[in-house]
Subunit: 141 residues, 2 copies
DNA sequence: TGAATTGCCTATTAAGTCGCTCGACAATAG
DNA sequence: CTATTGTCGAGCGACTTAATAGGCAATTCA
């Protein structure tokens, strides 16, 4: 399950994706409109900024905007930043591989093989799904 | 990421799958061979038993065995018991659906749509992968 | 019958994570 | 200068996770 943190991040990002590119949006506005605790949201956005997904400007008339077009920012990126690796096991992760402490032989591990295919199918979806896709879905109705 | 609990469960179950069907295996033996804290493992196995995946017998010459053939027990079942729903969001779960507290309109939610497809692809794999599959993978080498 | 074995069950604990808040600071516009 | 707005560090309560402890209940077998 995604953490609340990740849910908030996705919601905030889809809101930014819906606003005009380059337009600056206030944390306070995002918090209000998406019902996210303001101070908590600050931390999340800051993180997304540090990882290059957002651009921020301080001071009056400041705010946040996407650092790239909405169709160039994927769910996978966002979730990895807020929640960590997508893979069910560290030994099945590409972006954050780690050997299992007590794994006898990784090559013959049936559990790993299956978790690896779960990882592959999940990231196939999440690394392809962009903010623009999510927004488009909303627009259809 | 799976919890330690789930990892232990999967390891224990694959060990039981490797033993002769109907044979009783001691908790202590599983714990030793798979390097799982014994008392912790007891709790896990008990849970799996209550949910119908294992059969147990008490007293001397007792132990655990699979309640069904290894090719009828899936990873999905095991993980749902030990870790809960597979879906990344409650609103995207089939087996444990729950509406998001503050979701405006589920039908138009782009996030949900994507998470739903992640769920679908994950469970397509995990509800098909059986203990026998994992064991077979190991045997190949 | 009774001792040994083995799973069943309830509590408890230590450490960590999650969700969130507070207060001060730094940059920027006007 | 002042108001605004993001940045940052610290901290906190509730919960979860991983594990331990200890006794009870069923079963075997001598």
């Amino acid at each position: 399950m995604l953490t609340q943190r990740s849910k908030y991040a996705l919601r905030a990002m889809t809101m930014l994706a819906a606003s005009k590119p380059g337009d600056l949006v206030l944390v306070a506005d995002i918090a209000k409109q998406r019902k996210i605790p303001r101070k908590f949201l600050e931390l999340i956005l800051l993180d997304l900024k540090k990882r290059g997904l957002l651009h921020a400007k301080r001071g009056k008339n400041g705010g946040y905007s996407l650092a790239r077009p909405a169709n160039k920012i994927t769910f996978g990126e966002i979730i990895r930043i807020t929640d960590g690796p997508l893979a069910p096991l560290p030994c099945a992760s590409l972006t954050a591989y780690r050997k299992c402490d007590d794994c006898e032989d990784e090559k013959t591990c049936g559990i790993r093989r299956i978790m690896r295919s779960v990882r592959d199918s999940s990231s196939a979806i999440l690394d392809k799904a962009t903010l623009a896709d999510a927004f488009r879905a909303k627009q259809q109705f």
